[in-house]
Symmetry: C2
């Protein structure tokens, strides 16, 4: 059977089962459907499926599995690793019509949703019930819960609430053959066999399509105390984190460390930012603590910082006296949103290390990059409490081979320290060839065995996550 | 080759590779090695292996895999589901010589251990470093970290710190073929491919042998405030939990609910216990909150309880004014340790439900059990914040068929509410035939596919966890 004949047979089978309304062949596609925010290349898929229910997802996969037809699941297309990009012979399956919030259970503190719902809609529904959904990241208005779970998204509040996987009590997913694994449970404790839930989470659409989930809600965080600190060295940064976790009764809700390279670049290039401190320091930390009672929490926070100043752990600090002050601090950190305009040719890294290693690892990356490419820009910042380091590199006139060399240098240092080549963005197609820097050959073999067991014909998001066998 | 010949060939191969010191054939076994605390039957194994390193575990499994020789991994033998029981044709592999604490990293807040170490030794090492390892359960002095991870143990502090799996950053495991998957990472954020870590955790020795782990440590909890509350109805119990999580700035570190059946039985049968309240109530809650500063935390806790009394959420409360008061409250809850003496023939359940359902589900179990077996004893208590309900049933003169009927009744109600047949004790051999009450057929099929992919000859803990195919 030629490709065209077989394509037409697949589309006929899908349309018969699901209807014209669900199946849009390539020639009827109006929007660009082949790429995410990663900038990775993609081609218009053979067709777009927009099912309305788990049953329709199951029917679609059963048919595609029979025809050995590759399927790429798509959420909000905001991924940064190319996990949702399509090739011309693939079918895209979007969950955009499955965005129901099925239940908010305030007593059990859970929300049950279809996974095409946006992160922001879940945050809002939680808030209306007097609770909070703590997962938060910049793309909140566009990204979907399905994408958050498929990539195990991180974001701003991991230090206190964990990653996307830590927000999930139960989930339902459709496997390659169309069978539905359904564990829409609301229990924190549930020790009944293998953890398929966590296996699906973070598998980036290669093991199944997550269709519904029961998510945990939390009490609202209460009053926020925020400070911008200047510190003398990296040892002081880790000591501040440890002391804050020990002495602030509600702990730390954000602990963003920024090297002067990052802060100076932002202050110099982004309009409307002001330096929180008058003098320069070797390290800056934006620290936030969420507590119950406004006045006593702020007082305890200020007392703690005074003690840290006294002890020489911090050299200086600016303590927010209002939401507006805190907002001004966060605008410096969040100016990363301007990178696409400021540095369209940047090479971005999302890596992680043991907290104890970050200082040395970051310095080693910085020195090696500047030595190899004099005049390059290297900006360093990260979520310290989670071990997550972001590194932004710009080399004037860089071509593909320069980009490869920069990546080889940084991932080599990651490997040396036993770090992770992807802290929170996933592997997708972008990082599959460096996955072996973090995962041992036996682990890659185990992943391949699991992939073959659950998706024997390899129809789910082929060519993503797992490196090609060389 | 006859069994005996083949057994002798296996033992010869193991002894040649590992030495006499590691391999003890059945005839040289001095201790009972065939059973855990579950009371499930077991037979003396063919041999006991006591390797000293990951490499020796890997060698042992590679040989056993070649000979298709079943292997049962053993930790502290304190499991309650029969997961470590052996049959006469099986080899037991104990991690008792792999108990090294390899590193405490106070900056990264991690501890790296071999998994034969006891839970208590890890708690102590954390404490010596000024930190805390929050996993805690009654068997702490005997149970091992390997067993805790293999069964995803729960315990007393899950409401605040999560289950065993939530304490793990990295782990190393040996697969059936002797290959070692090693991810001894210290990062909270690490999105690099499939979550083999969580797949190994809770698999009860059927997918691999966990040999080393990097565990997360936490800041010490600070001052404890404790109260024993009497409440009018189940709605008040869930409201108290919600209000406490919202209004106590550090939240709730324990929230143990007890039905009068449980409290009255304990007060009547265990020497030295005293009722904390003068009058009876339909529900009792032992609530604990861990905070920073002693005086202000206690004051906030007492103010909160006064407001709850005012609002009618609690009918009465006794607030601990000393550690000794708190200890007296906990002794009532912990009198469960007396069950083996008080009720040697008890039928115990460790199940979970959505928090919103527990009240009705527990009542339904209680009524149905008493109606079917008049005069039976039914005691009900649990960790409410985690959805975990414990149910103790005693029927005078019960034989095997009565036990089966009691289990069928209770697990039927669990199924009806979409609950879990095992909240924290695992499946082992005891609950494999009711796993299907909680996990759908497609989930069981996926588990079997994963088992076959990672352990194609089925040598690891055969007959455990997965139900036999009927």
């Amino acid at each position: 059977m030629s490709n065209t004949l077989s394509n037409s047979a697949i589309l006929t089978a899908l349309t018969e089962a699901l209807g014209d309304d669900v199946v849009s062949p390539r020639e009827r596609l109006l929007e660009r459907r082949n790429a995410d925010w990663s900038g990775m290349p993609g081609a218009t898929p053979l067709a777009l499926l927009r099912p309305r229910s788990t049953e329709q997802v199951a029917q679609a996969l059963a048919i595609c599995n029979r025809f050995r037809q590759p399927v790429v699941v798509q959420g909000g297309l905001t991924g940064l690793a190319g996990g949702a990009c399509t090739a011309a012979n693939e079918i895209a399956l979007s969950l955009e019509r499955m965005m129901a919030i099925e239940e908010v259970d305030a007593i059990s503190s859970t929300i049950t949703v279809q996974t095409g719902v946006t992160l922001e809609a879940v945050q809002q529904a939680a808030s209306e019930a007097g609770l909070m959904f703590p997962l938060d990241l910049g793309a909140r208005g566009s990204c979907t819960i399905g994408g958050n779970l498929a990539t195990n998204a991180g974001g701003n509040r991991v230090i206190r609430y964990g990653m996307a996987r830590d927000q999930v009590l139960g989930l339902e997913a459709v496997l390659a053959d169309g069978s539905v694994i359904g564990g829409l449970h609301k229990m924190v404790k549930n020790n009944t066999g293998y953890d398929l839930r966590n296996l699906m989470i973070g598998s980036e659409g290669t093991l199944g399509i997550i269709t519904r989930a029961v998510l945990r809600l939390r009490p609202r965080a209460g009053a926020l105390a925020t400070a911008w600190c200047g510190l003398p060295d990296y040892a002081a940064v880790t000591r501040l984190l440890g002391e804050a976790q020990r002495h602030l009764s509600t702990g730390v809700s954000a602990f963003e460390v920024m090297w002067p390279s990052f802060v100076d670049y932002m202050l110099g290039n982004v309009h409307g930012l002001r330096a929180p401190l008058d003098t320069p320091h070797p390290f800056y930390v934006l620290m936030e603590s969420a507590g119950g009672d406004e006045a006593s929490h702020q007082q305890a926070f200020e007392d703690f910082l005074a003690a840290m100043l006294e002890a020489g752990v911090i050299a200086n600090a600016s303590i927010a006296q209002s939401q507006s002050d805190a907002g001004a601090f966060w605008r410096i950190r969040d100016a990363t949103a301007e990178f696409p305009i400021l540095m369209p040719d940047l090479i971005a890294f999302d890596v992680s290390f043991a907290i104890a290693d970050i200082g040395r690892a970051a310095q080693q990356c910085d020195e090696a990059l500047r030595a190899t490419w004099p005049g390059s820009t290297v900006l360093t910042y990260g979520h310290l409490g989670d071990g997550n380091l972001h590194l932004i590199v710009q080399v004037a006139g860089a071509d593909d081979s320069t980009v490869n060399a920069v990546e080889a240098l940084v991932y080599g240092i990651v490997r040396e320290y036993g770090g992770s080549v992807s802290a929170e963005h996933g592997i997708g197609s972008k990082k599959r060839d460096v996955l072996g820097h973090t995962r041992a050959p036996a682990e890659l073999a185990a992943m391949r065995a699991i992939k073959a067991a659950l998706d024997p014909h390899g129809i789910l998001n082929p060519g993503k996550v797992l490196p090609s066998i060389s």
